[in-house]
Symmetry: C2
Subunit: 222 residues, 2 copies
DNA sequence: AACATATTCAATAAAAATATAGAATAATAG
DNA sequence: CTATTATTCTATATTTTTATTGAATATGTT
C-alpha cells in the first residue's frame, strides 16, 4: 500500500484528466470549429453559417469546448462570441495538424492529392516571403472571406476573397508575382486562387503557411 | 458545386481523419500504455503487468493504437513486442502532456499537490544537471524499475529502483547531491525517492524532466 | 505430431457520445 | 411590459466506444 497505492490512484486521475481534454478535441465537428476560431472570434450564428451544423448542435459542441478550457466566450448584446482560449492551445493544435499531415500517410496523401489537383505544389515559405517583400516584387493576397480578413491578417496583404477574385482580376498587375494565403493546413482557398490566377496568365504561388501560423510566429518574434 | 462543394467534402474527410487519430489517444488506458511505451518496447504481457488491465482488453487497446499508426510491433518467439512508432509521435505526446499540466488548472493543481506532498518542489533542470555533471559533484540516480533502465537511460546514471532504495542507502555517499529521475511528467517515483533520501539525511532533488524527454533532447542535439 | 503458451479475434453487454427537436432563458427593441 | 431574437438546456433515439468472456490462431517445445 502506502505510496504505490496512492501513486496508482493519482496516475489514474491524471490519465482521466488528459483523456477528457483529448476527447474534447477528438471530434470532426469540433475540430472544424477550432479551425474556424483559429481565424478569430465568431458568434454561434457565425459558426453555424460556416459549418452548416444545426444551431443546437453547434451550441452543444461549443459547450464541450468551453467546459474543457479550449474556448472562451464574450457576450455582446444578443450575441455570444466564441474564441480560442489562448496561443498555447493554438500552438498545440498546430502541432497536432502538422503531425497528422506529415506522419499519417492517409492524411498526407489526401492533402497532397488535393494540392496537385490545384496545381500549386511550389509554395512560398515565410522566409522567402519576407525576402520578396523586401525586394518589393510581390503582391500578397488574402483570399479568405472579408470578415476573417477584418479580424486579423498578415500586414501588407490585400483582401480579395476567392468568391470575388474573378471580378477583380482586371485590377491586378501582371508585373509582380502574386502570393495567396488562407486559413489552416487543410484550407484550399489559396490553391484555388492560384489555379484561377495561373489560368489567367498571372504568376502566382501559394504561401506555405496561413494566418494562424503567422500570428503565432509574430508573437514568438516580438 | 464546382470547387466549393469539393472543398467541403475534402475538409470533412480531413477532419474525420484527424479526429480518428485523436480518438485513438483520447482514452485513459491507452494514454497509460503510451506512457509505458515511451520508456521503451514492452510485450503485451509486460503491459498487462504494468497496468493491471485484463490481457484481452490490453490487446484490444493495442490494436487501436496500431491501427492508428501510433505503435508498431515486432514478433519474437511467443511474444509480440510493442513500441511507439517514432520520435515524431513522442514529441507530440510530450507537447500534449506539457500543455495539460501547464494550462489545465485542474491537472496542474493535481500534479503540484502531489509534488508538494512529496516535498521536492525545487527540481533540477537539464541545463543545471549538465553543469553539475561537469563539476562532478552530483550522483544521478534512475529510480525506475531495472528493465526500464536496461532498455535506455541517461548516460552516467546509476540504476536504483525505488523498491530497493531503502536497502541501498548504505552504498550512497553523503558528500554529493543526489538527483533522481523517472518517467513522464506524471511519474512520482523520483519524488518518492527524494523524500526518502531527505528523511535519511541526504541532499537530494528531483530532475525536472524524465527519460523520454532526455531521449528527444539528445536526438535534437546530435 | 501433440501440447503449451502468448496473443488476437468475435460476440455481447454496458457505458458514453452524438444529433435532433422542442422548451426554457436572457437580453434587447419597440 | 411585451415581443423578438440568440443561445442554452432537456429529453430522447441513435451510434460509437469499452470491457468481458471464451474461442481461434500462431509459435515454439517435448
Amino acid at each position: 500500500m502506502s505510496f504505490f497505492m496512492m501513486d496508482k490512484e493519482f496516475k489514474d486521475m491524471v490519465y482521466e484528466g488528459l483523456s477528457k481534454m483529448l476527447k474534447a478535441i477528438a471530434n470532426a465537428n469540433r475540430i472544424e470549429v477550432i479551425e474556424i476560431l483559429s481565424q478569430g472570434e465568431k458568434s454561434v450564428e457565425g459558426i453555424v453559417q460556416a459549418t452548416g451544423m444545426t444551431i443546437a448542435n453547434a451550441s452543444q459542441h461549443l459547450q464541450v469546448l468551453k467546459n474543457n478550457n479550449i474556448v472562451k466566450t464574450r457576450k455582446d448584446g444578443h450575441f455570444v462570441y466564441y474564441s480560442l482560449i489562448g496561443n498555447e492551445f493554438l500552438a498545440l493544435h498546430q502541432h497536432i495538424t502538422r503531425y497528422a499531415v506529415n506522419e499519417i500517410a492517409e492524411l498526407g496523401k489526401m492533402v497532397n492529392r488535393q494540392r496537385l489537383v490545384n496545381d500549386s505544389q511550389h509554395a512560398v515559405s515565410f522566409d522567402e516571403l519576407e525576402l520578396m517583400i523586401g525586394e518589393q516584387n510581390v503582391l500578397l493576397v488574402d483570399v479568405r472571406p472579408a470578415d476573417e480578413f477584418a479580424s486579423g491578417h498578415i500586414t501588407g496583404a490585400l483582401s480579395i476573397p476567392l468568391e470575388v477574385l474573378v471580378t477583380r482580376l482586371k485590377d491586378l498587375t501582371n508585373e509582380n508575382e502574386i502570393v495567396a494565403y488562407c486559413r489552416g493546413p487543410f484550407c484550399m482557398l489559396a490553391d484555388e486562387a492560384v489555379k484561377l490566377l495561373k489560368e489567367n496568365g498571372y504568376k502566382a504561388r501559394r504561401l506555405d503557411g496561413n494566418y494562424p501560423e503567422w500570428k503565432l510566429r509574430q508573437l514568438q518574434l516580438s
